[in-house]
Amino acid sequence: MSGRLRYILFATFALSGVLLYLLATASANTGGFTRHYALLLKLNAAIAVVMLLVIAYLLASLWRRYRAKQFGTQLMARLTLMFALMAIIPGTLVYTVSVQFLSRSIESWFNVRVDASLESGLTLARTTLDAMLQDVAGRSRLMAQELTNVPDASIGALLGRMIDQTGLQEAAVFTTSGRLIATGGTASVRFALDMPSAQILADAARGRGYAGVENVAQSADKPALRMRVVAPITLRLLGAEPRVLQVLQNVPEQLTASAESVQAGYRDYQELSLSRKNLREIYAVTLTLTLLLALFGAIATAFYLSNRLSAPLSLLAQGTEAVAQGDFTPRAEIAGRDELGMLTQSFNRMTRQLDEARASVRQREAQLESAKGYLESILANLTAGVMVFDPDMRLATANQGAETILAFDASQAQWKPLSELPGLADFAARVTDAFKQQGDRVWQQQIELTRRGPREADERSLTLLVRGSRLEVAGGQGYIVVCDDISELVSAQRSAAWGEVAQRLAHEIKNPLTPIQLSAERLQMKLAEKLAGPDAEILARGTGMIVSQVTAMKNMVDDFREYARTPPAALASLDLNALVREVLGLYETAATPVALHLDPALPAIQGDSAQLRQVIHNLLQNAQDAVAGGARTDIELETARAPGGARLTVADSGPGFSQKIIARAFEPYVTTKARGTGLGLAIVKRIVDDHHGTIEIGNREGGGARVSILLRAAA
């Protein structure tokens, strides 16, 4: 219920109270409002109509809210109904009894005995007056007889005498045309003017007298009655105008008062009797209006009260709905220390706690999320591959490391058995076997894996260190497999081992070589002159052979030493193109010319010029060896810009690398040459590693080997 409506209601209540009071006062027939009774009635009816409209509006709005299924409306409707009934039932009861009582009591005022006694009273008064009138009339007639034939001049004196004798108050003689002849009496001047009416005079002229009581009251509260008797005077004189005698006599005041009061009572009774139906209606209308106003007021108050009672509930309902939708803003609290106020307060407290709980849950979720993200980023950045399988060995999760190592796409491989992934059937078999054999224990195995690329040349052999264990997860059992690509490590280990062996061998072999060579040369010197002929020739050939073989062996040993003891690279800014040209100077006389493709915009790189010279040298030497004896001899050297540095590529038209060689080409003692130590590429690899560069080997598309080195640009 809006505030404005409330004010309207209060104003209407006050107005109707005042109007009802006035109406009741007017109905009681005492106040000065009697004259405005009709107006009051209309005003009250108007107020009733206004209240009815207000109530209709309230009902309509309640119905609208009820139809809209607004929470609290049912309660409000029920409360309103109860409050209204509390007012309507007693009100109607009192009203019915009052109306009944009223009509009965009004009817009881009127009965035959009262009617008859009042009638008798009036008749009594009339009879008394009539008797007095007859008396006066009799005396008047006697006077009139005495006045017969009395000349006009002596009438006045005679009248005065007669009045004194009869005790009458006033007598006058007129002609029938109304001319005054004479008067006599106590108040002659005043009465003289009171002429009989023309009608009476006319009757008197025809010999008929008149006797009547007249009401001469000047005002209602001063009743006055007067008897008037007109008697014709018989004339013996023919032709003369007939005369009449008029006698006026006041009825004694006490009698007048009594008669008047009897008449007033009779009149009031008659009036009441005539209007009793109206009277009943008046009271009924007043009562009905009072009832209506009271009822409407009660109903409106019922609306107001029920609204006040159900408002907190609606507020709570809105709050509940808002909470259900996740809105925890506090609701307006109902002021007051009653249960409703406490209810809203505790509701707000509850929403506040809910809000806090939700906030803390969200915070925890965020923490978990970030922790999970942290773990995931750790997993993703691990070079080790981590894979989780369900009990049926289907892939649940795999990190980026696993994707890189095993070359599959985790998003497509999810929930597929490991054995169905391309190229991983052997791997899967090994892993499954390991789990079967080891049971619940953690196992570790080294697994060789051949990874095929789209081209045959891309095929690589990987050495993986795989660890597996059972995983207890919430959904049951699972497996976790961690694999490390240890190919590089193995290769490095191999290189290190070879370095060690080479150094030992070099040391052990080189020591006896010099005495062998010296001994052979000494044999040659001492015995050459003593022997002759074919013996000398054999000696010369033999010692020559020894010396040359020892020299070759020394070279080989030096190679080994060099491999084992390559000094750490001293990196400096370097022009790769200049270095290439410098090295190429040595190959101008070589069997196969080298075709140069140098990128003029090559950035300066960081490198050790002595070691890089060795790299270029080794690569060109390999190429020369590879093309020697071939049908097509073709060597290309190319430098080019590359992301992060410069690329040096040497390609030849030789037989190229076999698959087996590619995997282990950088390991010492792996060679395709009949007479090679197999250290060339191993040294190259080592130097490139020291330069933090990368080296790739492969085969040219047109046939032949191709080695490409990526060197970092100078800082």
């Binding site: 009709a38 009581v213 007249e214 005539l274 209007s275 209606e281």
Partner: protein, 153 residues
């Protein structure tokens, strides 16, 4: 001016009179000068109240106006006199000669002076009302005011 009405009391009113209820009649006269720019000017608004009652003791009907009264033996006589109300005096100072006024007269039963129970009936019952409605005619005062003819209803 002389106005004559034909007053006929309804049976209910006649009964009321004979039971002693006093009836009040208002004879009203208005002079209005029409004004195009505002409400009509009403320089003269006068009325005369007549009281008609029955005196049961003397069985006479009494018609009084102010302190003047006249008694009649029959209701008809009283009504005949009431039907020709005395002309109402118009104050000369209030009107101007040569100006045209709209004069309005009416005779009606003053319901508000009825006893209260009858007022209620008069709200709903036509029997309790007696009203001639306004009679309008143009009025042009000349130097001496003469009765400007009668009107009959």
């Amino acid at each position: 001016m002389v106005v004559e009405y034909n007053i006929e009391l309804s049976p209910r009113l006649e009964e009321a009179i004979n039971k002693g209820v006093a009836l009040f009649f208002n004879f009203e006269l208005e002079l209005a000068r029409p004004r195009w720019y505002w409400f009509d000017e009403k320089p003269v608004e006068i009325s005369q109240t007549y009281r008609l009652s029955y005196h049961a003791l003397t069985r006479q009907y009494r018609l009084s106006a102010g302190t003047l009264y006249q008694s009649f033996n029959s209701l008809g006589e009283a009504l005949r006199l009431l039907a020709r109300p005395r002309p109402l005096p118009i104050e000369r100072a209030r009107i101007r000669n040569g100006e045209t006024y709209i004069a309005s007269v009416r005779m009606r039963l003053d319901v508000n002076q009825l006893p209260k129970p009858f007022q209620l009936s008069s709200l709903t019952n036509r029997e309790w009302t007696l009203d001639s409605d306004w009679k309008r005619f143009p009025f042009r005062p000349e130097a001496p005011i003469v009765n400007s003819g009668g009107e009959r209803k």
